[in-house]
Symmetry: C2
Subunit: 192 residues, 2 copies
DNA sequence: CGGGAAAAAGGACATTTGTCCGAAGCATCG
DNA sequence: CGATGCTTCGGACAAATGTCCTTTTTCCCG
C-alpha cells in the first residue's frame, strides 16, 4: 500500500550532493501541499527522501482514484518524461515531505550516462507495473472487506496513517461502503 | 484494449536478423497455446511480431483476470528480468502468434549496450504503467456498461475478436453480468 | 433430417455497493 | 453553558452485480 524503493533511496542519498558533478535539489512540502498537478507539463522528476505522498487520478466527474502512496525512494514524474506528456495524475503530500528533484535534462543525462541509475529506473518501473497488476486483479475480484483485510495484512496501521476518505479513494468505493465494511469487520473482531 | 508498440516492433523487425551480431529467434504459436506459464522462472523475453495474445493473472480461487491483450510490438517477460522472479502472470495466444524471443543474457546485453533498445524498453514500461493507471481508475469508478462503451470507442470490433469469456475476465465480471449489460446496450441501440 | 451433447443466454433471487439524507458527536465562540 | 456549524456515522432504500440453475441455441454426427 505505502510503497518504498530502498535501492533508489540509497542511490539518491549517496549521490545527492554531487550527481555527475551536478547538485540535486531538495524540496520540502507540508501536508496537503500539491507537489505535482494533473494535466501540466512535467518539468521535474521527484524522488521521495522522506514522508508519504498520495498519487491520484481525477476523473471528469470529480471522483479521485488513488494510484499509490509513495514512501521513501519512490519516484514520480518519470513516466511523463518518456513520452513528453502532461502529468496524468496529481501528487499531494500527506505528511511532511522531502523530495529530491531532478530537472528533465539532468534526468535524461543520468539515464544515459549512469548505468546504475538507468537500471534502478528500469527496476522501479517494472515494480510499478507488477504492483498495479496485482492490485487491480485482487481489487476487482474481491469484496471491500477482503481488500481491507489484505491492506491490514500488508500494513497493520494503515488506518492510523491514511485518512478514511483516502482509504475509500484508494479502494475506489464510497465512504459509506467503507464505513459499513469497517464496522462489520470490527464487530467480528477481524480488525482493531 | 489490444495494445501495440510500433516503435519496438519496428526496431525488432529491423534488427531481427542480427542484433549485435546475434540471431533473434522467432517462434510461432497456435491459438490457445501457452507462451508463458504463471509461476515459472522466466528465461526469455518475448516481443510480439504478429497476432494477439492475452496476459492474465490467475488467483488462488481459479478466477482469471486479464491484464492486457498484446498486439504487435508488445513485450512480455521483461518485468521478471529486473527482479529475477517467477512469472506473475500467464500469456496465451488468441490468434496465430509470431514472437521474437530473446534469452535473458541477450536481453541484458542489449539493454546495456544498445542505447536505443534501452530507451524503447523504458518507454514501453512507462506506457504500461500509464495504461494500467487509467484502466484501473476508469474500471473501478464506472459500471460495466460504461466500460463496454469505452471499449467500443477504443476498439469498435472487440466483440468479434475477443471471446465473451475473455471480455468478462478482462472486465473482472461474471459472464452473466456481461450478458446483462450487453443486452441492455443492444436494446438501447448503443452497440451492435 | 433428427438426436444429443455442449455452449450460450437468461430468469429468479441473494449479496454487495451506492445514494440520499438525517442523527450523533465534537469543536468553537459568545 | 448552550447555540452554531462542521464533520462523521449510519439507516433506509435503490441500483448493480453475483450465484445458481433452467431454458434456448448451436453444432456435430449418424
Amino acid at each position: 500500500m505505502i510503497r518504498i524503493n530502498e535501492e533508489l533511496l540509497e542511490f539518491m542519498n549517496g549521490a545527492a550532493l554531487s550527481l555527475q558533478g551536478r547538485f540535486v535539489a531538495e524540496r520540502r512540502f507540508a501536508p496537503r501541499a500539491v507537489v505535482l498537478e494533473q494535466g501540466v507539463r512535467v518539468e521535474f522528476v521527484h524522488i521521495v527522501k522522506s514522508g508519504i505522498a498520495k498519487c491520484y487520478l481525477m476523473e471528469e466527474n470529480g471522483a479521485e482514484f488513488i494510484q499509490e502512496f509513495f514512501g521513501a525512494g519512490e519516484i514520480f514524474g518519470e513516466i511523463e518524461m518518456f513520452h513528453d506528456e502532461e502529468s496524468f495524475g496529481a501528487v499531494e503530500a500527506l505528511t511532511d515531505l522531502v523530495v529530491y528533484r531532478l530537472s528533465r535534462s539532468d534526468f535524461e543525462r543520468l539515464l544515459t550516462e549512469n548505468q546504475k541509475f538507468n537500471r534502478l529506473i528500469l527496476k522501479g518501473l517494472a515494480a510499478k507495473v507488477k504492483y498495479k497488476a496485482f492490485r487491480h486483479s485482487f481489487h476487482q475480484l474481491n469484496p471491500i472487506e477482503t481488500n481491507l483485510l489484505r491492506l491490514k495484512g500488508q500494513f497493520p496501521d494503515f488506518l492510523k496513517v491514511i485518512s478514511k476518505p483516502d482509504v475509500a479513494n484508494y479502494l475506489g468505493v464510497t465512504e459509506r461502503s467503507l464505513n459499513r465494511s469497517l464496522k462489520s469487520l470490527k464487530e467480528r473482531k477481524l480488525i482493531e
